[in-house]
């Protein structure tokens, strides 16, 4: 997928859907994030215009919430938990292992837009520590071997698609 190509028709449809709703900015941004995987910066101006807001304000909201991203994200977003429980159970080495496997630093996206690596303060699944999420799936009680197999599972998916 080339992240630079934006289907403007889809965006117009999303904007039209939310235009008349009250407090519609965040649901609108959520839907844009859902459809495109990120909020294309080019979309901010049309969104602001339709909601009679200022572009800088919309950008302020989009940058405030970590749920929104202005940069294209990979197909699989990895969230490695760095909460206290996971830390005690060795999440630092889990993170190190993921970084090594994917050749990515925190916050980075792979060149083929397959993976994005993020860390979070707590996933709320401390009983599974150390844990991480890939998109909406939880993976708990991790060890380096399990991490490698999980990552393999997701890169294999890519080959299937291809």
């Amino acid at each position: 997928m080339d992240p630079k190509e934006i289907d403007w028709n889809k965006l117009t449809a999303i904007i039209e859907k939310h235009r008349t709703q009250k407090w519609s900015l965040i649901p609108l941004l959520q839907e844009v994030q859902e459809v495109y995987g990120y909020i294309p910066p080019e979309a901010i101006e049309p969104i602001a215009e339709s909601l009679k807001m200022l572009p800088a304000q919309v950008q302020g909201v989009a940058t405030f919430y970590s749920g929104f991203s202005l940069k294209p994200k990979g197909k699989c977003v990895l969230k490695v938990c760095r909460g206290t429980a996971c830390h005690v159970k060795g999440s630092r080495s889990i993170l190190r292992h993921v970084k090594k496997e994917l050749h990515l630093e925190e916050g980075e996206t792979s060149e083929d837009y397959q993976f994005t690596l993020e860390t979070v303060a707590c996933l709320g699944a401390c009983f599974l520590a150390p844990t991480m999420m890939v998109n909406r799936e939880y993976y708990g009680k991790l060890n380096p071997t399990k991490v490698t197999s999980v990552l393999g599972q997701y890169s294999k998916n890519k080959e299937d698609d291809g």
Partner: protein
Amino acid sequence: MEIIVLTINGQKVTCPSGASLLQAAEKNGIKIPTLCYHPDLKPHGACRVCLVEDEKTGRLMASCVTPAAQDMSILTATPKILNHRRNIVRLMMAEHPESCIVCSKGNRCELRNIAASLGVGETGLYPMPNYTPYEQLNPFIIRDLSKCILCGKCIRADHELVVTGAIDYNHRGFHSRPATFYEKPLEDSICTFCGTCVSICPTGALSVKNTRYVGTPEKEINSICGFCSVGCSLKMGIAGGKIVEVNPSKRKISVNGATLCIRGHFANDFINSADRLTQPMIKKQDENSNDKHIPVSWEDAFEIVTTRLSEIKREHGPDSIAFIGSSKCSNEENFLFQKIARDIFETGNIVGTGYASGQKLLAYIDERTHGSCRVNALADLEGAEVVFVIHSDLESIVPVADYHVKRAAKKGARMILVDPFKTDLAALSALWIRPDMSKGHRMNTSGLINSLARKIVDGNFQDTDFINQYTFGLDPYVASLANFDAEKITEKHTWSPEIVKQAFELVKGRKVAFVVGAYTLNDPDGKQLIDAVINFSFLTGGMGAKGAGIYIPVAENNLVGAMDMGAVPDLLPGRVKMPSEKYMGLDMGAFITCIESGKIKAAYIMGENLLRSLPQPDRVAATFGKLDLLVVQDIVCNRTTQIADVILPGAAVYEKYGSFTNMEGRIQTFKPVVSPPGNAREDWDILSQVVKGMGYPEQYHTIEKIRQEIRLKIPMYQGLGNQQQDWIKNNESDNPFLSTHVKFSFLPAVPAISAAFDASYPLIAKISSPRFHLGSGTRTSRSERIRAYDRKGEIEISTADCGALGLNSSGRVRIKSEFGSIEREFIQNRHLPAGLVFIPMGVNHNDAMNLVGLGQKAHPNSAGCMLSRVLIEKI
């Protein structure tokens, strides 16, 4: 309003209901420190420095956001509060870089002051400065966001006062910072460089970029801005006898409050320009018979001016001399100047460039409304029901008036905008009517308003009480509206019946505040438009009502005052009509043709660079060569002084005594902030010396003497000089609201003149000042900051026309009109409709005036004064 009683620090105090604890304390003289609070902004509660304690519960509350309640008992400085305040300030300091010693905010830094007053020195905390890159590529503002304390004042001022929306918070927590859209540098964002954020910033995060380091001002003196007709109150910071800083004045009675614009804030450095005239000079021929200016004493200069002018008067008669006043000069100067022309030289030839910018129609409005539009406060707009803005370009010409209109729209006034160009008002308007001018149409806004009036009458929404009490002539007017059936008229015009319907829904049963762009006053059908607007205001009872009526945002600072003082060919001081046409002087166009025909032999120009500001500058230059004597009184060396026989160096606004009358009818006096450079003198003083040299019995040694005479001769100005500001007073016997003997008169509605499409000049160009320029090249063009801004003045062409002309996204083009041609770079503007071009003035020696003709507005097929029919060629 209900009054609340509460106790602050054991003292019983009262405040109105709805007031915050902070306001209640301030009102009663109890000081609470603040950082993020500003009286003009909505309370934000970000900094928590204003904490107070509830005596009963011991709870701590931010006083700026806590409403005062009955029987509350509040403590403002207990050890507990002080401890909390100290900790808050310590945390801010821990995040602040240790660069106080080189910070231009110095001892005016509010954070430093609060820290000092709380006794916070070393924070004792681990320093965690939040370094961000220093941004200073633009010539106006330095942004060092390392020093930002996130009070949000800049953001709130931008959103609430200036309503631009260039910045907002980005990110969260420690990383949170004010940022522009896409986090671009300010010069690439929609920032207008109004500088409001700089003045309001409590720390050194935002500061003014000086061309060199000048230090903290030694003192601050209030003055009035001399650029546009809003007349903002300024606070000038002086160091070493020079103005080094300009901020909005804290005077409560100002038009501008905490705001200013790019010119007022940053362009006033023109007065330190190296081109300032400092010595009187006369033109002499050297041995090679080249013209050369040599310095002379003031006595010699006055001697030459008075004897040569007297000779010319004797030889060729009084009407061989013309006096060109200036709407940039003060009331006192214009009064004295017209006195010199009329009383001493006995000629009616007194005119100013303001006359070419619509003064004549302004006088007509005054006559028809019996002075009811003379005084109309911009602040009232914020309570307006409907604001109807007609082709006004407020954002460039009168930015602070633009903020008022935008604030009105944000506060719920329904805004109707008629403008083919996309301005910053478009996004805020309830209805943006965009006339299609592609086929050479004129806007025909008068037709639109008359159609609306007809709908008002048809739907019986007129204000019958107002009409019965204050007006006459309704029936012929209503009959004339029969020609303005929206369904019929729109076929060959520029808006649809649907739009008239939408506009009608917005205005019906409401009072309308019209904001009519000054440039429209010079359109060939400007009079029809004004008549339509005035009739509509009578019909709906908007005339004279608060937050309604007619606003005319003229460009020049004292255009209204110059007219009131009689520095116009057709009015005597006090807007008194000439008793007979034969006493009328020449208008600007006739002035030039009379020099060409040899009727005018001498001219005395005060404060105008006509070789730059008049249309067809080459023709004007050649014409001026024919004069026997040209006296120019100005502040900087310019094209007109270069050909003058005598140069008299005058003083800029901030170097003299005087008064201006702004677009609202507010008369504001000012006094010198610094002294004029070298031997330059205050302009009224120069004029008084001319009066003296001519042996006139009255002498004007002081400004007060001139003011006395103005107060005596012009009843409208009876308050002049009594205090810092006063308003124009209306004559009781000639105002329908004050007297039962006069009434407003409806006039029958007349269709606008339709213009023929001229295929040889198919495009319409708006030739207008960009925001950072105004006037005739003696002020903004001499500002180092504006020069450093270095805009090339690209003309803007619509995407459609670029396609039709085979132009790429940028390049050079030739623009031709029937008067001349110029070459410029161009850019594509996707917001422009087809058929329209924007040509900024004030760049390339104002070459755009080559495209405009002298006396063009009289031409029935012209597009208007500042609109020109042009042809664009690819080079």
